[in-house]
Amino acid sequence: MTAPATSRPVPAARARRLPGWATSMLVVLVGLVVLSITATLTGQLQLTSAGTAQAAVQLLLPILFAGLGGLWAERAGVINLGLEGMMILGTWGAAWAGYQWGPWAALAAGAVFGALGGLLHAVATVTFGVNHIVSGVAITLLGAGVTKYLSTLLFLPVSANPRQSPPLRGFDSFSITPLTDVLDALVRANLVFVTDVAGILQGLLTGLTPTVLLGALAVPVTYLLLWRTAFGLRLRSCGENPVAAESLGVSVYMYKYIAVIVSGGLAGLGGAALVLNPGQLGYLEGQTGGRGYIGLAAMIFGNWRPGGLLAGSALFGYVDALQLRAGGDAVHALLYAGTILAVLVAVLWFAQRYWLAAVWALVAGLVVYLVYFFVDTIPSQFAAFAPQIVTLLVLAVASQRLRPPAADGLEYRRGEGD
């Protein structure tokens, strides 16, 4: 055999890189250092308090579930803009079952009701080839309508309120006490960085519920299922190249159906997490408040990967917790953190000789710093939407590095491939 003469349209880029887990640890560490410096220098101690961390966990949970739902669907090539609707269905189902049979039933029913919404989306998009976004919008509309109708029918007699379920019994929360006690001591030691890290860890380990654990488990489980099993390989292949998958005997329709139904189920779990949240146990009309869409944004933010999604929803939950707890002053302090980050990024890019990008980062950092310097506090009206603004900014900066599944959102017909 003679030496193969090959043409390489895309040069192989195989530079040595840190393994994924190390990169993420590094990112987390840098984030902590920046927050710690900011908290110390601005005096905004809420930035790294246990309470903020704990609130962030509560707030990120529904978003995380919804985002995982989005991840499952989009990895199989179906865009799920109906997450919000499926989440609403989940809240209703969870409240309905939870009221009668307790919190575990609430979780299960939330998942089932969400999955029903997913099934509908699968029928519309996979079987009938309806545009995914269109179907998602319609399902959100329908989900809201159905739950309102059902609540009038079923909750009104028991709660005397058509917009609300009767209160449910929730999970008991628990803390990992020995550890939190140690952390508490560290927090009180009042050492820069140590206190900050301990505070955040303490928040993460306090007030745990099975719902939180489920969320924490769902991320690695999703990763393992989708990236480390044959099932996941098949499912992902439907999102990358369904024609190829079909040619290898993968039942693309079936995997798409499974993915979208699981997606709905996860969104429904997000709804259940909301219903079982410590704030109020029960269904309340409009309580999802767009969290399904935020979940989708968090997933895109996370580059269609579970770890990234976790980071995205954590960022969202964190900023939201911060602005809810400490208001405009804390968001103002975030500007300071933003400046530090911009400078760090600029240094990094200078080191890699991306001159232009580095200069832009510096300019951005300067602008942010000027805002920080000349404004005393962020008006509450803007602070309230800090999470959305942060998400927009991150997407604007990072969108071109994102890599959606190749066949995401495309219509696929069996046997119509080349």
Binding site: P4, V10, T229
Partner: protein, 519 residues
């Protein structure tokens, strides 16, 4: 139908009376095919003859409307490719079935995870198979980093990994240069010795005669006959395929003038790593067909798209016209270039040339939306629908587009008629330059001859043509000058009057310059 079955050994594959209808078309009509175990059986036919459809049926991707399939003597019914794989059939598609964002290992393992799992054991097996087909990349490499030949190797590994004994190769040589074809044939012969059976689909008769043990010819969806490659002549085979005399792409007399129409100087297009286009210089004159030869993926697509303004050159100049009327269009938009008189036949008709669900007349407007007759002369910005219909009707008549009317959607037309419409459109409005990328790809024989005639006629009228084609016969037959492209550079010139396809192929891979003047 021949009836020469050996009594003891059952046929590896036996298709009988296969009929498959698509809306408006019978793709396969009562086709029968018998493949002996351990042979390389070629399936020949022109583009659109129904070869791929037949193979998709054998691979379970399509279900026949009528007819039966038997494998190794056992009658089988395939509901999906999984069923076909189970009885030992594998298929390497003409268009690779690979997911770019998955690794080699993942692509191979997909659908065959049960065999060895997806862990280390499976990867070891893949590495072993990779060695046998000459693929030297790590199994964890993303497929997007592989070149064409390596992708094909990856496809063959997929088939082997599944334990296929009967391998369908659908036009495997279409994307390969002659040297790579020779490598492929080596591999096939080696595997044949190990007892594999091959179904080899091609319309390249020399290749078929070189590799096949027996040949089945189909034409327009029907079975024509079976031939023995040792006995049949190429001419006879061709007549079986085409049903008549082969059309020839020969140009008659030279019409080349010394009037420059297109001048490209030092054209550069940056890529992520190596440049996609590197220092391209060329000149096309009025009445000249300049052919660009090259293995796909060496920058032809990028060259065409840069000339059309779809991509922006990072350096260099593109000048349209000559003397006083020369115009630097390097920074012009696609529309401005079209308005300046460039016609464009893209390589991918359905994606780049047509609006599938729009009527023919609306497709006539595309690319001409600012120019009469389809745009109103006085009221810039308005579309003249009546004139668009009328002019579409003209194209339909002049270019023999077979359609019931100009209001049917483009998707309702067959590929050849779509292409004739596109060519008619691109030759409307008196262009000075036509960029034709693979103008006869996926077109039936009759339409192919018609398209060649149109290109010749336009050249005769003084049109400058930049022709890109993977069909070296077409390229040699139509061009006045040929340039060879390799890794984004023009590496050699060739005279179509003397060059052979083999010489061109060598130049395309960079192995050897053709004798008449390497650049």
């Amino acid at each position: 139908m021949t009836d020469t079955a050996e009594p003891d050994a059952p046929y590896a594959v036996e298709l009988a009376g296969i009929t498959k209808r698509f809306p408006g078309v019978v793709a396969n009509r009562d086709i029968s095919l018998r493949v002996r175990q351990g042979e390389v059986h070629a399936l020949c036919g022109e583009n659109g003859a129904g070869k791929s459809t037949l193979m998709k049926i054998l691979y379970g991707q399509l279900r026949p409307d009528e007819g039966t399939i038997a494998v190794n003597g056992e009658p089988v019914v395939f509901r999906s490719p999984a069923d076909a794989i189970r009885v030992g059939i594998g298929m390497v598609h003409q268009h690779f079935m690979l997911a770019d964002n998955l690794t080699i290992a993942e692509n191979v393992l997909l659908g065959a995870e049960r065999r060895l799992g997806i862990g280390a054991k499976a990867k070891a097996e893949i590495a072993r198979l990779a060695a046998t087909v000459g693929l030297d990349d790590d199994p964890d490499t993303l497929v997007e980093h592989l070149g064409v030949a390596d992708r094909q190797r990856c496809e063959i590994i997929k088939v082997l990994y599944r334990g296929a004994r009967i391998v369908i190769l659908d036009e495997p040589t279409a994307v390969l240069v002659p040297q790579e074809v020779e490598d492929l044939f080596e591999t096939i012969r080696g595997m044949q010795a190990e007892g594999y059976t091959f179904l080899f689909i091609s319309h390249k008769l020399d290749e078929v005669r070189a590799i096949a043990d027996s040949i089945t010819v189909i034409r327009r969806g029907t079975y024509v006959g079976t031939a023995d490659p040792r006995e049949v002549t190429t001419r006879k085979l061709a007549e079986m395929m085409v049903g008549s005399e082969l059309p020839s792409p020969q140009t008659r007399e030279s019409t080349v003038t010394d009037r420059e129409v297109l001048r490209i100087e030092g054209l550069q297009l940056a890529g992520e790593g190596a440049p996609l286009l590197d220092g391209i210089d060329l000149v096309v004159h009025a009445g000249e067909v300049l052919g660009i030869a090259g293995v796909e993926g060496n920058g032809q697509t990028e060259l065409v798209e840069t000339i059309m303004g779809i991509r922006r050159a990072t350096a260099g100049r593109i000048v349209l016209g000559h003397g006083d009327r020369a115009r630097d269009i390097t920074k012009a938009t696609t529309l401005e270039r079209r308005e300046a008189g460039i016609g464009y036949i893209p390589e991918d008709r359905s994606r780049h040339a047509l609006l599938a669900s729009q009527p023919l007349w609306a497709n006539r407007v595309l690319g001409h939306q600012t120019r009469p007759p389809v745009a109103r002369r006085r009221l810039i910005g308005l579309i003249n629908r009546a004139a668009a219909r009328k002019d579409t009707q003209r194209i339909v008549e002049e270019f023999d587009v077979r359609t019931p009317g100009v209001d049917v959607p483009a998707a309702a037309l067959s590929g050849g008629n779509q292409q004739k419409l596109v060519i008619g459109r691109e030759l409307s409005g008196d262009p000075v330059l036509l960029i034709a990328a693979h103008p006869t790809r996926g077109v039936d024989v009759g339409a192919q001859a018609g398209i060649w005639d149109e290109l010749r006629a336009a050249r005769h009228r003084g049109l400058a043509v930049l022709l890109i084609s993977a069909d070296l016969d077409e390229l040699i037959g139509l061009s006045d000058t040929i340039k060879v492209m390799l890794r984004g550079r023009l590496v050699a010139d060739a005279d179509p009057a003397t060059v052979t396809p083999e010489q061109l192929g060598a130049a395309m891979t960079g192995a050897d310059g053709p004798e008449e003047g390497a650049a």
